[in-house]
Amino acid sequence: MTEENIRYRADVLVIGGGPAGTWAAIRAAQEGASVVLVDKGYCGTSGATAPSGTGVWYVNPNPKEREEAMQSREALGGYLADRAWMRRVLDRTYANVNQIAKWGYPFPIDETGTSHRKSLQGPEYMKLMRKQVLRAGVRILDHCPALELLADDDGVAGATGIHTPTRETWRVDAAAVVIASGGCAFLSKALGTNVLTGDGYLLAAEAGAELSGMEFSTAYSLAPVFSPVTKSAFYTWATFYYEDGRVIEGAGSQRGRSVIARTLLKEPVYARLDKADEVVRKAMRRAQPNFFLSFDRLGIDPFTQKFQVTLRFEGTVRGTGGIHIVDETCATRVPGLYAAGDAATRELICGGFTGGGSHNAAWAMSSGYWAGEAAARYAAKLGANASKRQAGGLSRYSGIPVRPAERRGASDTSDIVKAVQDEVFPYDKNWFRSGPRLNQSLNRLHDAWNEVKAGLAAGDGNVVRVREAAAMTATARWMLTSALARSETRGMHRREDFPTQDPAQHYRLISSGLERIEVRPLPQEQQHPAVKEASL
């Protein structure tokens, strides 16, 4: 075995330094654990939240507002969410956001003196979270993607990876691991998502964890055609136009998005935010400086000038599927392994339809908090020697290479990425799904998987590309296999051959496996992972 250049021991290893990972690290440290946090990029700028602005599902704790908040998206989500989990996330989010205020986040105060806490500016929020992580005594390793988990017979025991700038290898032996590495947007260039390539799903699957709700992965967001900045909410005030200037009837940012997708299959679509009055215009600018950055730099006034738009794929980042969690601590079925944030399923609070940034932000800070706490307690139970186990790397079980192939003729990682994107980006394959097309896509994805297994060359020699290509291929296979198994339309999953909701399929779908993918309905008695009210 090769000796790693960088080695640490810790009670808890957190993989990912976005909202979920930082909350996990802080909470684990508060519980007395020694914690290492590794980030593929830089904790503070990485991921979907940092460069953006996000709503937060922050709801005052009075019965009427809470009931309204829970009810508002239940039908949209196909009734797959769970009230007990919603209550618990609303409580945790309320407490955590108020904690953020105590840490000094400058929430706006209106003229009546009310502090408004339903929105977070990404750069400010994540700069603050990094500061708090460091204050808690956590060691941060930036630019350190994880390549494989370590485990022994008793469970997960750390991870190894690489320090991208120097290509030095690292190894962290830990008693427990929290995967908080985000979802998968397949390198679509949607704002901040190019580090989100499903890496955590692959790590979890190699350890034997399962996924849930991967069919709910058809999230596309509105964006100017040239720009990475996705902000669908603002298009509430948009009118959509054909190239010749006629209005596209029925097109809209919420329910009318399918009309836009159908039109985009044939011809370009233009938008103008001409329904915004002066108050809304000013509020938009103050709410999302980055939304206007693109326009300002090109000299476009989006309120008076039309601009071409597209629907950019956001995959599971804004979908609701992810790693299946089995109890209220956000544990997976693998001992010592926890999942949080977009890496984990968000069906418990969203069901089958995205709650948008607001629910994802609430879920990230809640699930991160619980996963960090549980990982620390698990580590404490294992005792001081738990990080001194002789654990081995898990990629040997999956057979997925952890280094680039050197043989000539091997497919390049970029070929695989393109092949996978060709099955998940097109609206006529993934937005509007049908059995025959899903089967065709899956055949091509299985071929891609065989190429991955045979070993990939990486143009720049970077091993991370190999793991990313493998993770995206695996993710697409879980998504579309689950989509094929759900022969109905529910939540954001739309089947043209089964256009209605089928009461007999009112269950969540669990997917698992790398070589052969299996999908099964979650048994009724496990639909609602127990929530102990005392643990709120």
Binding site: G41, G44, P123, H143, P165, F226, S227, N290
Partner: protein
């Protein structure tokens, strides 16, 4: 995509090397950092926010390249414009405190 690292303005602090989530910049022992992997840029604008001297410019295009002229950018006030917008930097106040998302939410709620 990142289009400019100003040799005039850069002080070699290597903050951009540290904070770029996709490792676009490369530090150099003798000189200022370089844009080494432009095609990996995800156009997230974060490097601009962390540059203390407004030496970086990210054009708002996700895919296409758009060569930028430093003098033009400086003259039009676009160098450092995002950092000014969010209120980061000496003598400024974070505009997170002026976030009017709540007005947007109230309006959206009212229209449903």
């Amino acid at each position: 995509m990142i289009e400019l690292l100003s040799r005039e303005r850069c002080i070699g602090c290597n903050q951009c090397v540290a904070v770029c989530p996709t490792n676009v910049f490369e530090a150099s022992p003798e000189s200022i950092p370089a844009i080494a992997r432009k095609s990996d840029c995800q156009t997230c604008f974060m490097c601009e926010l962390y540059c203390p001297v407004d030496a970086l410019y990210v054009a708002p295009f996700a895919e296409k390249e758009a060569p930028a002229d430093e003098a033009d950018l400086a003259a039009s006030g676009l160098l450092g414009s995002y950092r000014a917008d969010v209120g980061w930097g000496k003598g400024r106040t974070s505009t997170a405190s002026a976030d009017e998302s709540y007005i947007i939410f109230q309006r959206m709620h009212a229209s449903h």
